[in-house]
Amino acid sequence: MGMASTRRFASLLIVLVLAGCARHDAERAQVSGGAGPPIQPVTAQEILARVRAPGARATLVNVWATWCAPCREEFPGLLSVARGRARDGLRVMLISADFEDQLPAVRTFLAARAVSDTAYLKTGDEMQFINTLSPEWSGALPATFVYDGGGRLVAFWEGMADEARFQGAVDQAIAAIHSQGDARP
């Protein structure tokens, strides 16, 4: 086997391995096999990395669970703001605190509300998860964190909110980056 064909073989191998990983992850994510968004496991560190990544003028992180009544109740208001402000650069991260074996319920819930963007499933040590997102967070659900485009936390609360509260916090976050004169594209 010549050098060139060895390289080709190696490339093919990498592609096959990647495809294998992809299929494995996709299977893991598509538990119900039905409609619904892809759902990725996420640690608090990964959430904060995503929040700080460029590409949004504000990020709203909502931690919820299918079995949490106030979480379900506030969802329509949250989604209304998410959809209304998406074109203004709002990025929304829905973080389910359900257990992994409840992924089908999470997917069904999100599919029923026409959520199609990637959603997330909390993973890792719970106390660390809570404290990394905010030392002020007691662990009560739902919990909402709103960051400006620079990844700075501008609003946090726990418990249910109405649409006006989500809207106000998002407006504040978008305005925050404006006032600093470094609005992102």
Partner: protein, 219 residues
């Protein structure tokens, strides 16, 4: 980070909204915190003399429930899935604490108008089913929860013999699987109080259901 996750992450970034916005007016979100803390480690518990209706039929206050070595006040309720996952352990830890000189009071501060399962009759049934050897009481105005700064269920406050806070937080680090618990925070804290040793971890956190507070000024 595995390659697939990196790929999904990158795609997520690429698909993030990039359209510039018109200005959004700054507006303060309504802070309206329910908890009125701060009640922190080392401080005396508030509202120790407020009597609350117990499932046993008699009213009882925190100071009346106090044991010779300390008092465990645990905010919990019937409906919350997290409280349900921990309720067997709450019963076991509470009953064991009672035998060792720690008074125990389980407090339901939820407005039963929000969750029928949290009604007084349902509380009586639950306490009986779980074999609580301690009072399960109604915080009918949610004022005790407000004064403690409690936000969710279950949430535990352990007081020493003087009524000062020595532990605040969750039951343990695994709601779902008791067998997989690595840190039995509350049990260890009770142990420490009974044996006069320092509390291993005085403040912990676990997820739970937001307390559905009664409207302020309700009776």
């Amino acid at each position: 980070m595995n390659p697939m996750r990196l790929l999904v992450f990158s795609l997520g970034l690429a698909s993030a909204a990039l359209v510039p916005a018109s200005s959004g007016a700054g507006q303060d979100p309504d802070p309206s915190p329910q908890a009125e803390g701060p009640f922190s480690i080392g401080q005396p518990a508030p509202m120790q003399d407020v009597r609350m209706k117990s499932v046993s039929g008699t009213d009882i206050s925190i100071s009346e429930a106090a044991g010779t070595k300390g008092t465990l006040v645990i905010f919990t309720c019937n409906h919350c899935p997290w409280a349900k996952m921990w309720q067997g352990r709450i019963a076991a830890i509470g009953n064991a604490a009672m035998r060792r000189g720690i008074g125990v009071l389980a407090v339901n501060s939820n407005d039963p108008a929000a969750y029928a399962e949290d009604s007084f009759d349902e509380m009586k049934a639950r306490a009986k089913k779980l074999g609580f050897k301690f009072p399960y009481v109604v915080d009918a105005t949610s004022d005790v929860a407000r004064a403690f700064g409690a936000t969710h269920t279950p949430e535990a406050y352990l007081l020493d013999a003087q009524g000062n806070l020595v532990y605040h937080g969750g039951v343990d680090d695994n709601a779902r699987e008791e067998k997989a618990v690595k840190a039995a925070w509350l049990r260890d804290a009770v142990d420490a109080v009974v044996t006069g040793k320092p509390i291993p971890l005085a403040e912990t956190k676990a997820m739970g259901c937001s307390i559905k507070f009664h409207e302020k000024g309700s009776s």
